[in-house]
Symmetry: D2
Subunit: 307 residues, 4 copies
């Protein structure tokens, strides 16, 4: 398979859908992104790489960061995090608080906002928000092989200024003693992790260890143990797209995680890591054209974990 | 891999958990089943078969039947069924009606009771309940290669007599015009499909087409198209165990569907179909020892769709 | 106070709102009622009566019947009914099933559909649906002093034919063993009680015992004990208008019960019983012009239980 | 009626229930209050006063303060507050956030925590938290005729330190732009209003204007207009005891507002204002013995707004 050609064909397939969907407008920094951009990049386990469109344009990865903080936590003293967060699909939107009330402050899974805030609190541990962010940035640079990766401070500030809903979630969990650090400490790290800026090429490379049983093929480092890697992929499959996770599994057929910045990271175990980006979103907060592209790519390659 | 030995090892692994969990007691016929039975069978795509324990004892497959009626519907004029039922995890127990009210009578997915009732209504189409059940029994006999398979009429009667919750779900959907046949017609078929009795050996064989891109390896018949097969597996992965689907994906790593009779059908795409049965259930209504056995089998084989 | 003049003034006050709101269309028999009718009648404890507009036109009292079946049950072995139904506002629409699931099949109060179905089951007791309806019709004739009152059989049939939602509620409660008679027996009585047809004049007279500490001033019969009478009024105050009960208490200031036929019965303890009817409804299912009229009548008279 | 004798009889009636219920333990300052205290005071419109038990012991009035801030807001530019808060019973506990999510950040009524936070924000207006608290303290002193009334600063600090749930509610509403002042400004006033300490005698006196169509009989000041007074009583009747409001109306029969400090203020329009206090609470957070005492007092006097 010619990867460049594949991605070009996929891009052609979805070009006409570029005007569909709405850019996230809940923070000014996201609302200003030109909406019709599209980038797609793939990193294969056999060493091949390809990209098309705006694949070198850094974008705010937003919730995709949740996968990487989860991996960092699971590589260390992580299993304990499962006492504080579940791994069930929530059946509700990304920022819902209803489930938290029904289940006593324990978020359904680590890929909704409330769950990711708990994971970030776990990552901070006894250190500081700055330290946790430094470790995350170092991790992302190591995984992507690119030292230019960093936090978009303007987006991070904007997140914090408009972060009432996330503050509400965090204080709610604090009321059930499910945060160990002060709310503002945790959110300070959380808002910055959401504001990480990567290009599709960098993101596809950064996710490759998840397609490779936890080992980073470039550094040969075992980032997470094979069984933890499987579990991260499992959680992405069942919970990666909020209230649209079932539909993504149904239409695309491999694990993925979307962010409201319009990016999606998708993992084909044993094959490849794929990053796609296009800012317009569907009703569940997943990139419209991005998910179309992954569906087309799955159809063209036959890749699916489901046979 | 010696399959007989593998299953024997798995059975040894889980023997001590046989006393844990509670047998479903909502219908007398299920409550009377001796609780400490355990059967496990595997059918591989390469033609190998193995079984251990009570693998020839027929049991009530209950909700596992939902997978087969879905396959029957998707093999025909099925795609239209997706206008009437979603494919998202519900985040609620198997017989919840709350979601139905919030979403105007459209069930979340075809593997919860409400969704399966819609699929059964679709299967009946313009025919009769008897006809639909006849077709289902014929389908199960063809898939399992066993003409002894049938409906346990005592269980079916018992289901109907204690079926108030399912009647409530059906009338609720009828109030939103999401049933085409009369409620009692649909339930008459639904209660009988739940009362299908198969042994682990029969069930493992019956599910094999789902591991084989939709083609039955014994009859070489294309039961469902490859993309429909993938979709059935995807729905099993995200929705197969009600409010425990995420945990099953996390711990076992391949698609499955459980029934309150204590059976579980699990599919390893490209490899095998597995049936396990043990009547005691966990809180989500999935066989306690059965899911333990699948987790052990996954660990021993390394089988996982997640890498 | 000249009662005729009062009612005429109120009618003038609200005339312009007669085109606002929507007639209930969930059963054909209700949808066909000419929408711009308006009747208002008052029966005072001092013996005065007055009426205006279409006050002699019989209409379907629908949920207003819930007050009378509750009174009948509380006049007998009734207190036991409080084991089977609560007395809290539900915070949800009249036909919601969500609350029932969260509270194990015990309806929030006797003035929502689910609660009224339980009260009807209680009223039937060990007799039959026909017997219960006969007793209710006799009760309404005695209270109103009018032998012409009866069940509109066409409406009752229409209720039953379109009664999927109520069937769902009833089967749901049956699944929690909160019905003693078969579902169809209970609904047979329930649909007929909703189809009782009274004019405003008849209805105002029928409710007068509730303004008089439980004693019917015409027959001098103690219909319910004084403390039961207070409790019925209390339940009407907190639960009489579904999800609009608080607003009704706020704007009108005395107990009332509305029906989707457009009628409202309102009780001014120690003073009067008032019936108003106009078919167009607000969002909560209460007569738009009817509640306006009661608000105007309260303002003109100064009647309020709140000082 | 001899008021002293009446209260003494009521106190005798309920003495044996003093050990029932649980003291609020969510803030240390409340948990330390000796649990078996009981005070009861009445202020009648005809000028009579009476009290029994620990009626001169100041206690934390907690949510009872919500009635007074609402009255202050409604006496000024208040009607506008109804754009920001509803007046329907919530059907949920006092600190629930579920309803807020379903209704876009508009609290159900001003007597649950979320609603009272909005009212406090309205009271602050363009001034400061300190100014609002000063005005409230002045108001309470004027109403009770007692200059000793003030904020228990230890309780206020304790409220703030353990106020995660209220912070969550406030940030949630802020995310829907339903707060005009910064969250911590509003909460600073809110926590202090909850920490107001009054004795039963002071509280009964302070509430007397609500039994008198809005006019303070001691100062002859029109505190709120008569129609606003009725509306406050109406909201107390339907929403004054969270998820136990219907039961309170049913058993007691006049408007009241409870606080988790164990106090209840009850209003008999045209007759009297009653304050009762006993720290042990029922499941809804209302004083166990306090509500028993009000039920007995209603039975002994025959007072009821329901006839």
């Amino acid at each position: 398979m010619d990867m460049e050609r594949l991605l070009q064909d996929v891009a052609d397939d979805v070009r006409q859908s570029l005007g569909t969907g709405k850019v996230a407008d809940y923070i000014p920094a996201l609302a200003q992104v030109p909406p019709n951009q599209f980038g797609l990049a793939i990193a294969c386990l056999d060493g091949r790489h390809a990209s098309v469109g705006d694949a070198d344009q850094p974008f705010s990865i937003q919730s995709i960061s949740k996968v990487f903080t989860l991996a960092m936590v699971l590589s260390g003293r992580g299993p304990l995090v499962w006492d504080r967060v579940g791994r069930e699909p929530s059946g509700t939107p990304f920022n819902s608080i209803v489930q938290l009330e029904h289940e006593s402050g324990v978020p359904r899974n680590p890929l909704i906002n409330a769950g990711a805030i708990v994971v970030t609190d776990h990552l901070i541990g006894g250190s500081s928000a700055d330290d946790a962010v430094d470790r995350l940035v170092a991790f992302m640079r190591a995984r992507s092989g690119s030292n230019s990766i960093g936090v978009d401070q303007q987006v991070a500030r904007s997140e914090s200024e408009t972060g009432s809903r996330n503050r509400s979630l965090a204080h709610f969990m604090a009321s059930f003693s499910n945060l160990r650090n002060p709310v503002e400490t945790v959110l300070s790290a959380y808002f910055r992790q959401c504001a990480l800026a990567l290009s599709c090429r960098q993101l596809a490379q950064a996710g490759l260890f998840l397609a490779n049983k936890g080992r980073d093929p470039q550094t040969d480092e075992m980032v997470v143990a094979p069984d933890q890697c499987r579990r991260i992929n499992a959680v992405m499959m069942t919970c990666g797209h909020y209230d649209g996770s079932g539909d993504f599994a149904f239409r695309v057929g491999f694990p993925g995680k979307s962010g409201v910045g319009g990016g999606i990271l998708a993992i084909v175990p044993g094959e490849a890591s794929i990053a796609v980006w296009s800012p317009r979103l569907n009703r569940s907060g997943t990139s419209w054209t991005g998910s179309q592209a992954l569906e087309r790519l799955a159809a063209r390659t036959g890749w699916s974990v489901f046979g």
